[in-house]
């Protein structure tokens, strides 16, 4: 297992690096209070908007809070947000896609129309609308993003189910009298799931960017809790005095999204080595 992983990482160094980066980031997020040199909310009125120094490696923000500590403490919020959004999208999207693909007929028609409709909405705009309705806050914001992403997964799962449903072993199961509720989880799901895993990894990056956007707009994480998007919003307010403040959180967002994307692409290759399909699944774009 370990050896297989190592050899895969040697074959695809970019993906290997991404995996190492993400593992480190998750560890960092879990251990944030231990690793961070200061409390993320400890203010120092005599030392605001300071440049990087030995005491504050990334400087301090407008309230004299240590930027590095806020960056580290922002990691859990950011990762929680991405994972939450993608979990919501999976819980909603995967069963719906399975049902539409498997049942076919008018159920499929109806569900497909709804999916088409939902995909016509610019994702972040709909997410802002849903957040506005549910109430502002990180959890609500990411539930909104999850709802908005779910049709992407539903469409993918539906297409995949349509293929798997034709397989002989599904027919066989049906001949043995297996019910829909047995066939879907036992036979369809395991064989339709691979592209979904890829898509989920790519969606983590999109969700991360969505969280950053919503928090930047003031619809996500609320002060004083740190998140990378919220840090950028503060940095924006002090851009003329301290332009350096916007780089650490921005780079953190960029690298994490890049790592999720690289890992997703690598998974696509690894899970589907024979495929010559080069066309991407739908653009998963909201930022």
């Amino acid at each position: 297992m370990m050896r297989a992983l190592l050899s895969w990482m040697r074959g695809n160094p970019a993906a290997g690096l991404s995996l190492v980066f993400l593992t480190a980031l998750f560890t960092l997020a879990l251990m944030a209070p231990v690793i961070a040199p200061y409390s993320p909310t400890a203010q120092d009125a005599n030392n605001t908007l300071s440049d990087p120094s030995l005491a504050h490696l990334l400087g301090t923000d407008d309230l004299g809070r240590d930027e590095l500590s806020r960056l580290i403490h922002g990691a859990p919020a950011t990762l929680y947000a991405s994972v939450l959004a993608v979990t919501v999208a999976s819980i909603l999207g995967i069963p719906v896609g399975l049902l539409a693909g498997f049942l076919g007929g008018w159920v499929d028609d109806a569900i497909s129309r709804v999916i088409d409709t939902l995909l016509s909405f610019p994702a972040i705009v709909l997410a802002i609308g849903v957040t506005g309705a549910l109430g502002i806050g990180l959890t609500n914001g990411m539930i909104a993003v999850g709802i908005v992403f779910s049709p992407q997964l539903a469409r993918l799962v539906r297409a995949q189910t349509l293929v798997v449903k034709q397989e002989l072993y599904v027919d066989a199961a049906r001949c043995f009298g297996a019910s829909v509720w047995r066939i879907i989880p036992r036979h369809i799901m395991p064989n339709a799931i691979q592209p979904v895993i890829v898509q989920v990894t790519l969606l983590l990056a999109v969700a991360l960017l969505a969280e950053a956007s919503l928090s930047f707009l003031g619809l996500g994480v609320q002060p004083p809790q740190p998140s990378w998007g919220a840090m950028l919003a503060r940095a924006y307010n002090y851009m003329e005095i301290a332009p350096g403040q916007m780089y650490p959180p921005g780079i953190a967002i960029l690298l994490t999204a890049l790592a999720f994307n690289t890992l997703g692409e690598a998974l696509r290759e690894a899970l589907d080595p024979t495929s010559r399909r080069r066309n991407m699944p739908s653009m998963t774009g909201i930022k």
Binding site: P122, A123, A133, L134, L219, M239, L254, K287
Partner: protein
Amino acid sequence: MNNKGQMIGRRLLQIAPVIVLATFVVFGLLQLVPGDIAVTLAGENATDARIVQIRQTYGLDQPFLVQYGHWLWNAAHLDLSRSYLSNEPVLDQILHRFPTTLLIVAVALLISLIIGVPLGIVAATRPGSRLDTVVTSFASLGVALPNFWLAMILVATFALTWNIFPATGAVAFGKDPAKALLHAALPAFALAAGGIAEVARQLRSALIEILSSQYVRTLHAKGLSPTAILWKHGLKNVSVTLLTVVGLLINRLLGATVVVEAVFAIPGMGSLIVHAAIHKDFPVVQGVVLAMVVVVICMNLLIDMLYAILDPRVGRT
């Protein structure tokens, strides 16, 4: 041609339910509000009489479907109700702000295509080369780049340090086109980074697939020059992919512009919906979402019609 006419007619029929469903989703947003909307709207310390009054003014005491029917009827007559906050008609606010947003999106789309298409072609004709690697890497970077962060970097560099572009605001295109474009330039560039990357990536993979297909091999065998193959056969076939990408990009740019507008303090649709969402001004939120989705659906329809014109296979079956 007759078949194409039929195809377009069929598409027109097909989008009717999509538009109706979209309005249902937009109206349904209200149902997500936890608790009683009237109480939320009345604010703290409101009297019961005031709550009842609000409930009646906005028709909140009626069943959901009645409310929806009423709202849809008004929306179909271009009445999107009034803002809870300013009491201005929502449609006026949208008509006032949408041109600014559309200009930015249009410029961003243009930049994405002007830069993205050549990059995609260059990379696809030399797959595996150093140039291809550079293009693909930049494309990966562009997709992962938070565009509002890029917008901040652009402001810091080109507006605050070098003073080439204005840092904030917008000018109406009708009033002064040159100034309007100058204001739209930085936001459009910030938006276009992702667009360029997406266009280059999709075009590259589609073109590689076409160039490695059987009929292209035949063309090589009969002695056609690679340039002729690329221009006469490759790009013609890839134009359909390009159309699809443009359709998805419009949707995506309309969303992303909301965040980028905030960086430039542009009085567009973005600031409208964000302000409304924070202050629970639901008619405005619904109006903006509705306007955006209608634009996307119409653009998709337009693109479908272009498919029918560009691709002789569409509408033949």
